[in-house]
Symmetry: C2
Subunit: 369 residues, 2 copies
């Protein structure tokens, strides 16, 4: 029988060190405030009203979510200023109207087709952000495409339902690069955003700039000219952020506790219950060039160790996870022991696990799915 | 508004063509029967009692699952002979005892430590399978390790709780290889399993051999000498099995319906609502060497087209999926249209989606998670 924070563990369990998460939150929040900006945390990482409360206790009242369903959940828990950071899916108009009737709803609009649809079908006005693509090439309008931007701004100018709030950019190309490159990307992107703002200010005097990704939030010293910072992963961090130098190992606030079900000294491997249905299948490449699904830590009574050197979650199938270990590490392990894994991507792991066990023994539920 | 099988689609939806799935089931079942073996379908793929019923209607009464929780769910739905195809996690002894009290429970035991633990803590006897590793190197005892196998067999001989049922092997190295290599692997592995059986028969006259993986179930013409075939993915198949020649595109029985939220003709791309929280992050490499997350199909009133040539789901982040398309395909698409994606790995996609919409308009729930 193994207890963590006085709770008996039976199956793979997502552990949360609340003090570490609150430390990450406080550090980023202080930096954003010092920079004269507002933190609009992305709640797709914790997906929990209980955890989101920590932000409200710091006076943070506006947040970001990744879906309309998530917006409804947080609206039900008292959040009255939410941004759905995903281009509008017009088929969700009913849920969008319901939300717009009760909160300050912020949406992404990146095409005239969607803008026209909303203008026709919205029963309430909403705040819209124009997502700008800095070259990451996922969604948004490339900042160089001044014509497409201008035609959307003209639409917003004459719209009665779509109140233009400002420009948003998620520089997603920062997630798997170096802190140095993250700084370069931010410099270029923020310059482009400011140019867009200056050009549009005469028509939209209250427009804002929003920028958001965990590497930038972690690495930049200030966010000069940006009004709102939206990022989520920094709350928990993970092996990917650690591997790329965006956090310390000691900042990673979540670990998966997994039971060992087989030990293979001759392969320098052990197998855990913990696979793709627990971790998802995002991987990270560490400083030595090894691609893995998580660094390993030892579990203590209500905390975990620093990452074990040269040890990692090497592969995952549906329920199995295969650990690579040194002979010395393996010699201390047997079937039935528990091990901690700092997931490669904490957002996807949390999304699969749906609840947390905190280092002080609380069980915290996530939104129903 | 878009309707599939008379149901209005709003958000990413997992479609299931019941006729295709039942066709896959019937084909494999016939082949297994003709070979004198028994099909023990792996229910980790559908995770649904409603769908599992299709197997029972064919007279199939024994099944495989991937976790103790899944075994409890199917036991609650009348399955009374289940194999948990995962090495025993000793911390689940309470749930194991509960299951063993009411069904014919089959477990994997691959270490003396676990065998001793079970002998001491089981309140009811169970059937145990010794998992053999054919070189795939996930779990199981390598078939060459005759000493480890012999010592476990000696333990079972004198055990009162662990009834040795036979040898099991999952040749997981078949999933990303060619049908030719799958046949070679099966030939070698089945030969090794038969040798183990012949050696152990004098002491265990009723012992069986179980072999299971979807590529082998699909490719082999007969399973000579194997008593039970356990596989699950063949029910739905997916882009990975199609890319490796284990099924036809027309056999793939699930497709994700996703709304298009952005179109980028200059990038030859479009973006859908459909990301890692819907598909997971398993990828496949097609015949032309492109690694992708799924082939694309056109959605019709209650069916879908053959895969579009040269089109695929190129990348997924948490909620976004980026499609690669030809200029011609793109010219037919606009924001708000729906597209079908044949997922790279249907088991992981189903695990995330938790329900199906069938081509005849039924909503089928999966087990609660």
């Amino acid at each position: 029988m193994f207890k963590f924070a006085s709770q008996t563990l039976v199956r793979p369990t997502l552990l949360l060190d609340s003090a570490k998460a609150q430390g990450n939150m406080a550090r980023i929040h202080e930096k954003v405030k010092k920079s004269g900006a507002q933190l609009r945390p992305h709640l797709k990482t914790p997906q929990s009203a209980t955890i989101a409360e920590w932000f409200r206790e710091k006076g943070i009242g506006a947040a970001t979510v990744s879906s309309v369903q998530m917006a409804s959940y947080f609206a039900d828990h008292g959040w009255d200023d939410l941004l759905v950071a995903f281009p509008v899916n017009i088929h969700e108009i009913k849920a969008i109207n319901e939300l717009a009737s009760r909160i300050r709803l912020n949406l992404f609009v990146i095409s005239l087709e969607t803008a026209s649809f909303l203008e026709q079908h919205l029963a309430h006005s909403v705040h819209v952000w124009l997502e700008i693509d800095n070259g990451y090439a996922r969604t948004g309008i490339p900042y160089q495409d001044t014509e497409a931007i201008a035609s959307l701004l003209r639409f917003f100018e004459s719209s009665t339902k779509l109140r233009f709030a400002g420009f948003y950019c998620h520089a997603g190309d920062t997630y798997r690069t170096s802190p140095k490159r993250t700084q370069e990307i931010a410099k270029e992107t923020i310059k482009a955003l400011k140019e867009l703002k200056n050009k549009a200010l005469p028509k939209f005097p209250s427009l804002k700039l929003m920028y958001g990704d965990t590497p930038s939030a972690s690495i930049l010293e200030d966010f000069e000219g940006i009004d709102q910072i939206s990022a989520g992963n920094f709350l928990f961090y993970d092996s990917m952020q650690f591997d790329h130098g965006n956090c310390r190992a000691a900042d990673i606030a979540v670990a998966m506790a997994c039971p060992i079900v087989a030990v293979y000294p001759e392969r320098l491997e052990a197998v855990i219950h913990g696979g793709a249905v627990h971790f998802s299948k995002d991987s990270s490449t560490d400083a030595s060039g090894i691609t893995h699904y998580g660094h390993l830590v030892g579990l203590q009574a209500n905390s975990w160790s620093e990452p074990w050197p040269s040890a990692y979650l090497k592969s995952v199938s549906q329920e199995h996870g295969t650990l690579k270990l040194t002979a010395e590490q393996l010699s201390t392990l047997k079937v039935g022991d528990w091990i901690g894994v700092l997931p490669a991507h904490s957002c996807l792991t949390a999304d699969l696990m749906r609840s947390y066990l905190t280092t002080d023994g609380q069980r915290i539920a996530m939104m129903p799915k």
